[in-house]
C-alpha cells in the first residue's frame, strides 16, 4: 500500500515536471492558454459562418451548447492523449519503461499518477476557456447559478470514465508501433462525433444515436450542461431522460468501462511482456 502511495505521489510529481519544467513559467502559462483559446476560436468562427449562412434566430443557444461541450471535451482529448502517450514516451523516447517495470513500482499506479498532472493542466485550460467565453463571448455562465451538488459528483464520475478509456488505450499502446498519436486522435474523434460535444446527436443516423447512448461521456456532457445551466435544452439523444436516470446510467456505464479498461490494460501489458515489446522502438 505504501509503495503504491509513493508511486502515485512521485509519478504525479514526475508528470508535472515533465509537463512544465521545459520552459519558464510565463512561457508555460502562455502555452497553456493559447491552445485551448485557439480551439474555441475555431468554433467561434464556424459559428459566425453558420450565422452568416444559416438561421441567426437559433444561433445563440447553439453556440452556448457547442462552446460548453468543446470546453469539457478538452478532458477527453488531453487525458486520452496523455495516458497513451506515456507508454510511447517511456518506451521509445526516454527508454525507461523496462526500468520502471523492474522497479518495485506498480506500472498501473504509475500511469494513474502521471495522469493526474494531465488532469491538473487540462483543468487550468478548461477554466481559462470558460472564463474567455464568459468575458468575451457572453456565454451565460454564473458560478452562483451552477448546481454544484450535481456538478461535482458528475464531474468526478465522468473524469473516472475518461481515465478508464485512457487505460484501455494504454493497454493497446503496449502492442502498437508509433501510431499512438493517430489512435488517440481517432478515439477522441469517436467521442467528438458520438457524444454530443458540438452538435445535437439527433442529426446522427439511428445507429449512431444508439451507440451514443451506451457511452458514458454522452451522459456526462449532458449532465454537465444541465448543472451549469448553460447550453442545455438542445435536442440531444438523452433529451427527456431525467437527471436521476442519466446519473445512474453514467455510474453504471463508468463501472462497466472501468472493468473493461483494467482488463484491456492487463492483457496488453501481459502480451507486451510475452512478445518482448517493452523496449520496442519504432520512431522511423
Amino acid at each position: 500500500m505504501k509503495i503504491n502511495r509513493n508511486t502515485f505521489k512521485w509519478s504525479a510529481w514526475l508528470g508535472w515536471q515533465m509537463e512544465s519544467n521545459w520552459t519558464r513559467p510565463f512561457i508555460f502559462a502562455i502555452y497553456a492558454i493559447v491552445r485551448p483559446i485557439a480551439a474555441s476560436l475555431i468554433l467561434v468562427v464556424m459559428f459566425y459562418v453558420i450565422t452568416y449562412l444559416g438561421d441567426p434566430s437559433t444561433a445563440r443557444a447553439n453556440f452556448d451548447f457547442l462552446f460548453i461541450g468543446n470546453a469539457f471535451f478538452m478532458y477527453i482529448a488531453q487525458v486520452l492523449f496523455g495516458v497513451t502517450w506515456i507508454i510511447h514516451d517511456d518506451r521509445e523516447h526516454y527508454r525507461t519503461l523496462k526500468y520502471i517495470y523492474i522497479s518495485p513500482a506498480n506500472y498501473f499506479v504509475y500511469i494513474l499518477g502521471r495522469t493526474l498532472s494531465k488532469i491538473l493542466i487540462t483543468t487550468f485550460a478548461v477554466i481559462i476557456t470558460l472564463a474567455f467565453g464568459v468575458i468575451f463571448l457572453e456565454v451565460p455562465l454564473n458560478p452562483l447559478g451552477v448546481d454544484w451538488l450535481l456538478f461535482i459528483p458528475v464531474f468526478i464520475i465522468g473524469l473516472l470514465s475518461i481515465i478508464a478509456f485512457g487505460l484501455a488505450l494504454a493497454g493497446i499502446s503496449f502492442l502498437t508501433a508509433k501510431h499512438t498519436m493517430g489512435m488517440n486522435e481517432g478515439i477522441a474523434g469517436v467521442f467528438y462525433l458520438f457524444c454530443g460535444v458540438i452538435f445535437p446527436l439527433s442529426v446522427l443516423p439511428d445507429w449512431g444515436i444508439s451507440f451514443a447512448k451506451i457511452l458514458p461521456v454522452t451522459y456526462w456532457l449532458d449532465l454537465i450542461r444541465t448543472s451549469l445551466g448553460a447550453g442545455a435544452g438542445i435536442d440531444t439523444a438523452v433529451a427527456g431522460t431525467s437527471v436521476e436516470v442519466s446519473l445512474v446510467v453514467l455510474i453504471i456505464s463508468t463501472i462497466g468501462f472501468a472493468l473493461f479498461s483494467i482488463g484491456t490494460f492487463k492483457l496488453g501489458d501481459n502480451l507486451a511482456r510475452r512478445k518482448g515489446y517493452l523496449d520496442m522502438t519504432t520512431a522511423y
Binding site: 481517432g186 458540438i198 442529426v203
Partner: protein
Amino acid sequence: MEFEDDYPKPSWFRMNYRALWGRAYPRIIGANREPSWVFFETFLPILAVAAYVFIYKAWIPEPTMAELMIGFVIVGGAMTAYWMNVLWSMAAQLYWEKEMGNLELFMVAPVSRMSILGGMALGGMFTSTVRAVSTIIAGVLLFGVSLTVQEPLYLVLIFIFTMLALYGMGMMFASLYMMWGREAWHMSILLTEPIYLASGFWFPLKGFQYMLGQPGFWIGVGASLIPITLGLDGMRQCLFGTEMGFFPLWLELAVLIALTGLFIFLARLALAKMEELGKKEGRLTLRWQ
C-alpha cells in the same frame, strides 16, 4: 590496388539521390510492415472530420450551403494529414533523430542535409497522401460531397506548390527544432489548433471577415504566410467555385510559388546556421533535455 578503384566515389547527385531515397525508404517500407497504421491513419481520423461535418449539417438549414461547407470541411480534413506530417514527421523529426542517436550519423554522412530532409518529406507524404485520399473518399461516399474540378490546371499547380512550400517550411522548422529539447515537442502541440484556426481548416478563410469585417481580412492576409492557408483556399475554389475565395486563384498561386522559394532558401540557411551553432555549443548530441 587502391580502395577507390574498387569502390569509386559516386557523383554528388547520385549520393544525394541515394540519401533522399534511403531516408524515404524506412517510412514507406516501415509503414507497409506495420499494416495497423492503415486503420489508425485512415479510418480513425475521419471520425473527427465527421464531427465538423455534422456541425454544418445540424445548423445550416439551407441544403446547398450546408453541402458547400461540408465540402470545405472534407478538403480541410484531408489537408490536416499534411500539416500533422509536417509538424511531427518533419519539423520534430531532427529533434527525434537527436534523441534516438541518429543525428550524429546524419552529420558525418557525406551528403547534403537537405537530401535527408527531402527523403523524410517524401516518405512522410506517402502516408499523408493515403490519409488525405481516404478522407476525400469518405467525404464523397458518406457525406455525398460532390467534387467538380472547375480549374484542373490550377488545382494541380496549387497542390504541388502548397506541398513544396509546406515541406520547405517543415525543413526550416526542423533545423530550429534540432536545437531544442522538449520545447520542440511542445511547439508542435502549440502549432496544431492555432494553425487550424488561422489557416481555416474547418471554415472558409473568409469566415474571419464575416466575424470581424475589415480586420478579419487582414488576419487572413497574415495567415497567408502559412502555405497551407492559401493552398486550402485555392483548392476549395478549384473544387467548389470562387464565390467564397479569399484572393483570385492566380494571386494565390503566385504567392505559393514565392513562398516555396522563400521557405526552401530559409531552410537551407537555418540548417547551416543551426548546425554551426549546435557544433559550437555541443548540442547536436545532447539528449533528454
